[in-house]
């Protein structure tokens, strides 16, 4: 009897693929953020866990709710919803009511991603859009900062976290200005060591510069991150603040302070580098990064707010399609030309 031939697949070349997949790239970012997240647990205790959990629940919930029934499992598996929730959570103040955090995650995904057509189609970074929504809606709660918990306080929860929806949030704990707030309104610099290791007040994830950098190096080694973006942003901020320092070293922050304070590292390494909302061309990445850096410093120094990373990135997000359009790479065998 003749043996049957195997059932052969027909595919289109190339028939080899490299190992990385989009969900694994998303998971890499989660791994890279793990140390900074752990640090937020350490500094802010159970509150950090609750807030980040609420954001993720809101983000994933929105994704699940708005997805087509058959696509529900898939969009959860690609980890991008969890990542949005985590990133948002890390930008929130530790004393924020949990229901607000949940709402932020929900709105971030719903308005930042779903209505654009889902993963890959959104113009703005969903996590930052969620944060912008919260800042516009709950300005007081979003700008009330508490100091990190002291010894043995891990299981204590900031009272503010437990506020019922739509009730006036009780501000409790020792409210404490962020390093940028201190700098802007009282011209008081925070020691650099504190900024680097995170024992300062501020949002959950922005306090520990070293751990954020560590995660960035991991992402760079895994080729998940366009190094041009963080490098151009941080360099621009450093150069800008060095120039300001020439005018008035008393009033303006030092370059290192500028780089390590506020949400800059978190924004530059994890949010501006969101591939979907940043330019795809190498030259575009430089333009985007410099734009973010300049906007951050303009808002911080001349604007009404102490921090400007969020708006800087969102504004440059809006410019991304245009930047991409005008920075097309030069094609092999063609002279210098762009489109």
């Amino acid at each position: 009897m003749k043996k049957r031939d195997p059932d052969l697949l027909l595919a289109h070349a190339p028939l080899l693929r490299q190992g990385m997949t989009t969900p694994s790239a998303m998971r890499d970012v989660l791994y890279a953020l793990a140390p900074a997240t752990a640090a937020s647990f350490w500094f802010f205790g159970l509150s950090a866990i609750l807030i980040i959990g609420s954001c993720i629940a809101g983000a994933v919930g929105a994704e699940w709710l708005f997805d087509k029934r058959e696509a529900r499992g898939e969009s959860l598996r690609d980890a991008s919803g969890i990542l949005t929730g985590l990133l948002l959570g890390l930008t929130l103040p530790p004393g924020l009511p949990l229901w607000m955090a949940f709402l932020g995650g929900f709105v971030g995904i719903a308005l930042g991603k779903v209505i654009w057509g889902g993963l890959g189609n959104n113009l703005f970074n969903p996590a930052l859009l969620g944060r912008a929504f919260l800042l516009a809606t709950f300005p007081i709660a979003m700008t009330t900062w508490v100091a990190p918990i002291g010894d043995g306080g891990f299981f204590s929860v900031y009272q503010g976290n437990l506020a019922l929806p739509f009730m006036q949030a009780q501000v409790d704990g020792i409210t404490s200005a962020t390093p940028l707030g201190l700098m802007k309104f009282e011209q008081e610099a925070t020691p650099l060591m504190n900024l680097a290791f995170g024992n300062v007040s501020g949002s959950l994830g922005e306090t520990s510069g070293i751990l954020l950098l560590l995660g960035g190096v991991y992402l760079w080694l895994r080729r998940d991150l366009d190094w041009r973006l963080p490098v151009s942003i941080l360099l621009t901020v450093a150069v800008f603040s060095a120039c300001l320092g020439l005018f008035d070293p008393e009033r303006f922050p030092t370059p290192l302070f500028s780089v390590f304070s506020g949400g800059l590292l978190l924004g530059a390494i994890y949010m501006a580098t969101d591939p979907v909302t940043s330019p795809v061309t190498p030259r575009g990445a430089w333009i985007f990064g410099i734009g973010v850096g300049v906007l951050v410093m303009l808002i911080r120094v001349f604007g009404g707010l102490p921090e400007g990373v969020m708006y800087a990135i969102l504004l440059m997000n809006a410019a991304t399609p245009l930047i991409d359009r005008y920075t097309q790479p030069r094609v092999f065998g063609r002279g210098a030309e762009s489109k």
Binding site: L9, A13, P14, L16, R17, Q18, T21, G120, P275, V331
Partner: protein
């Protein structure tokens, strides 16, 4: 200084697939025994199909012309075996479609000697006669594309060829045919190179070889005769190093302007296999009736480098290699980056078939497609500096005309972008769809 220049040598971008050549790179080339049935499709390359000059029932000798060129971009076909023409009709081709072919039944008692067997006096030939001889000998580019070799030789008046570049990069994973040819037949390679160089009037011959074949580089260098203007240039191991424009960039540091040919920068590029075929014809009178094929991949029992008569069914080739292992899911003709999976084992080995690769489920890349997240890996992969991400999006939206603004026709379909894409988007396929539409679309009558 020279060593430093050598290290920097290369084209930009590209990808690094694991080369998987260990399986066959040390296996000497063997001859496949003659079988019974042979099928020679009349169209084995782009251009015009050949025209049959034999009739069913006719007896043919191995090496005898059975089809003549059907036009300028067309080559002759020769019988790979001594036997009888069984039928001239439609047979299943590599692409799955039926196409005209000549079926030959081998004579089991024949000695399978090559008919012609005499050297051709190439030195006495004019360039035109030489080009015609190459065409009649059926010689095509043996690297995979099977572009008729004589067409490249026909340079317009006023164009001078300075360098003959021989492509021994073999950047496709798994394949080791050029590697083995350089190791086992360096004399033939250098003889063929000398014939080509003199006929083209080129000043020097450069042989580009990827650095993962140090033994081949060494042996070819040893066989260069004193005074013969030949250089062997080691090249970075990177895909697609063997794409002719990339290799020209790597070796000479020049970009061939878009839409132009290597001859416009005074270079003529030929594959190692092509040059050996030239030597075989002009020095031994053997037209192109067989070629070296790498049979490899995890699904084949005994991997090998084989001399296969053209027209041999893949089934016979695989059988000679001990058959398929259980779990075989994909059989590729050519390399895994630009080759083509076949649907049936009954299709014949053609002039452009450099490999028969057998993949099991594990190697097949059936991955779920995710949306494009604009990560830019395809831009970093594309050796032509195109924007594959944008091209794929436009193609999905069927905005083919806009794709021309992004130079879709500069794409050589090397597959680097698709290899690099973490979202498993079939970028090359989308680009080909667009090119096909743009090329063949009927404009409405004005």
């Amino acid at each position: 200084m020279k060593a430093f220049r050598m290290l920097r040598r290369g084209f930009e971008h590209g990808v690094h697939p694991a080369h998987h050549k260990q399986q066959t790179e040390d296996l000497p080339i063997q001859r496949v025994p003659f079988g019974k049935d042979y099928v020679m499709p009349l169209a084995q390359h782009i251009g015009v199909p050949a025209k049959s000059v034999v009739a069913a029932g006719e007896r043919v000798q191995r090496g005898q012309l059975i089809a003549e060129p059907g036009g300028f971009v067309s080559t002759g076909l020769h019988s790979p075996v001594t036997g009888t023409i069984r039928e001239i009709g439609d047979f299943r081709g590599v692409d799955g479609c039926f196409a005209p072919a000549i079926a030959i039944e081998a004579d089991p008692f024949a000695t399978q000697q090559v008919d012609a067997g005499a050297a051709v006096d190439w030195q006495a030939m004019s360039l035109e006669q030489f080009i015609e001889a190459v065409q009649m000998a059926g010689i095509v580019g043996m690297g995979g594309a099977a572009f008729p070799a004589h067409v490249k030789l026909s340079v317009p008046d006023g164009v001078k060829i300075k360098h003959l570049l021989i492509n021994g990069a073999e950047c496709e994973p798994y394949l080791t045919t050029d590697h083995r040819l350089m190791l086992e037949r360096p004399e033939a390679l250098l003889e063929g190179a000398e014939i080509m160089r003199q006929k083209l009037g080129a000043e020097e011959t450069v042989i580009g070889v990827e650095m993962n074949k140090p033994d081949a580089i060494e042996i070819v260098r040893q066989h260069i005769k004193p005074g013969q203007p030949v250089r062997v240039v080691p090249l970075k191991v990177k895909y697609p190093q063997g794409a002719e424009k990339m290799m020209i960039k790597s070796v000479f540091g020049v970009e061939v302007p878009a839409g132009q040919l290597p001859r416009d920068v005074e270079v003529n590029v030929n594959n190692v296999g092509t040059i050996v075929a030239i030597a075989d014809y002009f020095l031994r009178g053997m037209p192109l009736i067989e070629r070296v094929v790498t049979v490899a991949g995890p699904g084949v029992t005994y991997p090998a480098n084989l001399i296969v008569p053209l027209g041999t069914p893949v089934r016979d080739v695989v059988k000679f290699c001990g058959g398929l292992k259980p779990g075989t899911r994909e059989i590729i003709m050519g390399g895994p980056m630009m080759g083509r999976p076949i649907a049936s084992l009954d299709v014949p080995v053609l002039k452009g078939c450099s490999g028969v690769l057998v993949f099991t489920e594990e190697q097949t890349s059936r991955r779920k497609e995710y949306p494009c997240i604009s990560c830019g890996r395809c831009l970093e992969a594309c050796p032509y500096f195109l924007n594959p991400s944008r091209l794929a999006r436009l193609s999905k939206a069927r905005m083919f005309d806009e794709m021309k603004d992004y130079h879709v026709f500069d794409c050589v379909e090397c597959g680097s972008c698709t290899f690099a894409c973490p979202s498993s988007i079939p970028i090359v396929q989308l680009i080909r769809t667009a090119k096909d539409d743009l090329t063949h679309r009927k404009e409405p009558d004005a």
